[in-house]
Amino acid sequence: MQNEYAIQTVNLTKTYKSKTPNSGIFNRKTISVNAIDNLNLAIKKGELFGLLGPNGAGKTTLVKILCTLLPPDQGSALVNGFDVAKQQMKVKQSIGTLFSVGERGFFWRLSGYRNLEFFAAINNVPRSNRHQRIMEVLELVGLNDKADLFFQKYSGGMKRKLALARALLADPPILLLDEPTTGLDVTSSRSIRDFIKNDLSKKHGKTVLYTTHYIEEVSQMCDRVAIMNKGKIVALDTPDALKGMAKKGEVADIVVKNMSEAQVNTLRGLEGVTGLAAEVQDSVLGQRRLRVRLENVNSLPMVLDFFFREKIKLVNFRQEEPTLEDAFIELTGAGEGK
């Protein structure tokens, strides 16, 4: 029977061992960190799958295992039906990979075209249609008029697009994209996301594993999203269903003026407040934006009373539907939630 999954992991585990730093030459101890911890995951063929997690969640480690760069310690992983530990060449022929610092794998003294020519050769793109394929992928990512420019002259967005083009060279059915928009400006990020969603996923039917720590990205574009934390999948569903997980309670989006750090901490400790993310919105005006998660609507008067008592000026107040961000904070304990 044809395997319906493009990517499948069963009890996948990867542990890193490292020496403790700054504890003297003779006192260094070996510490173990479970980067991937008994991970079970199944991504269907043609799916645009988001993997969301804070830094250090294990996303990049998972991508590196799936592309055969890292051997797993325990468990198994199948990519396009091939075992990453035993059928490495078959796996490599099935995937295109974009690493989060993908542009560093290019040769800066070569043009975009020459770079792709090299990578096409080592990825077994037949010589007879190599030029045609390079021009195709350059056109797909909108760099065909920049093909002869030295890579070092490319902007950050262009470098990332070329990295995407490289991943597409051999026309693989599966793409592993590790934080493809990290460090890019808003316009470049949107352009790359649109390309992945509309061209790669919808038009060409590629299976895409898209890792990111940007919540809005996966919320907008992915069919399903897994939230990963400390090497484990803590939730896996459609973006809407994940938002629903955070619906147990209320969310208030509040902008306040002249609220101290100590007052933020006091608010966080109030009964009925289940989570709080705070950020400085305008340092000149002394404004903070608070995203307060409440146990239920009955907790709201208590919070408002706190502001009046502490003489904190409310600039804006809005009761909101929980977002994927709320689900993320709740499930990973990220942000400043308690």
């Binding site: 061992k17 055969t68 022929q93 560093r104 020519e117 090299f118 010589r127």
Partner: protein, 264 residues
């Protein structure tokens, strides 16, 4: 794995390196000037040397020195060739492609060899055209000796590169081999000028056999005259090359297992 496909990959590795190298024009010029100045310095010294200890070299001192200098540069290049291919980022990109380790090493090293050969030509040309050095090359013998020398040093280079992949900084193998070559290798002086215990060490290093073999092959002698030394060089190559490959593959595997491949 198709041979033509792998040869095609090797060609594109080389093409990449040539294009990249050609953009460093100042570096090319400085390399050529350095080779010329190095050759001239030793040639002037050699052409005017009259030391009794070098009277039994079997060839003029200038010829002895220039061959030693030229091929020492060649071996030094070979020794660091594999290390220079370890750019952690592009290494990862190559390793996720369906390209074998042998293709990667050969492809990444080829241009370095070709450039080193051009530098040798500069050294020898200075000797021939400016100092009247007479070379009579035994082509087959030279190819065999150079092949075994390169094989041996690539073996060392792979061990050094493997150590570098694990330690990230500092490769004792390359340092030790370089020091051993300069002192015990019969490069710029015959080992007979050293005390006997040091001479014994020379017999343990492959560089000694390489330089003992290459000079007769460039000065009109037959393979028969170097056969015992050539056999020892061949034996050393047969041991060091596969050991180097296995060491490199093991270090690479270990770094991948530990997830430290790109930690440079």
């Amino acid at each position: 794995m198709k041979l033509t496909q792998e040869l095609d990959k090797i060609y594109y590795f080389m093409k990449r390196d040539i294009i990249s190298f050609s953009t460093y024009k100042t570096n090319i010029l400085l390399s050529v000037v350095s080779a010329l100045f190095g050759a001239l310095s030793y040639a002037f010294w050699g052409a005017n040397a009259s030391m009794p200890s070098v009277a039994n070299l079997g060839m003029p001192v200038v010829t002895y020195l220039l061959i030693g200098l030229a091929f020492n540069t060649y071996l030094s290049q070979s020794l660091t060739l594999v290390q220079r291919t370890i750019n952690p980022w592009s290494l990862e990109e190559v390793l996720v492609s369906p390209t074998g380790l042998v293709t990667f090493i050969v492809g990444s090293s080829l241009w370095g060899f070709i450039w080193s050969t051009l530098v040798i030509v500069i050294y020898l040309a200075v000797g021939v055209f400016a100092f009247g050095v007479i070379l009579s090359v035994n082509i087959i013998g030279t190819i065999i000796v150079v092949g075994l020398g390169i094989g041996t040093f690539i073996g060392f280079s792979m061990i050094g590169a493997g150590v570098l992949i694990l330690t990230k900084q500092g490769d004792p193998v390359t340092t030790i081999i370089t020091l051993a070559t300069n002192l015990f290798g019969n490069v710029l002086f015959p080992i007979t000028v050293m005390p006997l215990p040091l001479q014994v060490i020379s017999f343990l290093v492959p560089q000694y056999y390489f330089f003992t073999c290459i000079r007769p092959m460039l000065t009109g002698q037959t393979i028969g005259t170097i056969l015992p030394d050539l056999a020892i060089l061949g034996l050393m190559c047969a041991i060091i090359l596969p050991v180097g490959y296995l060491a490199y593959a093991w270090c690479l595997k270990t770094a991948r297992k530990n997830g430290t491949l790109s930690w440079f």
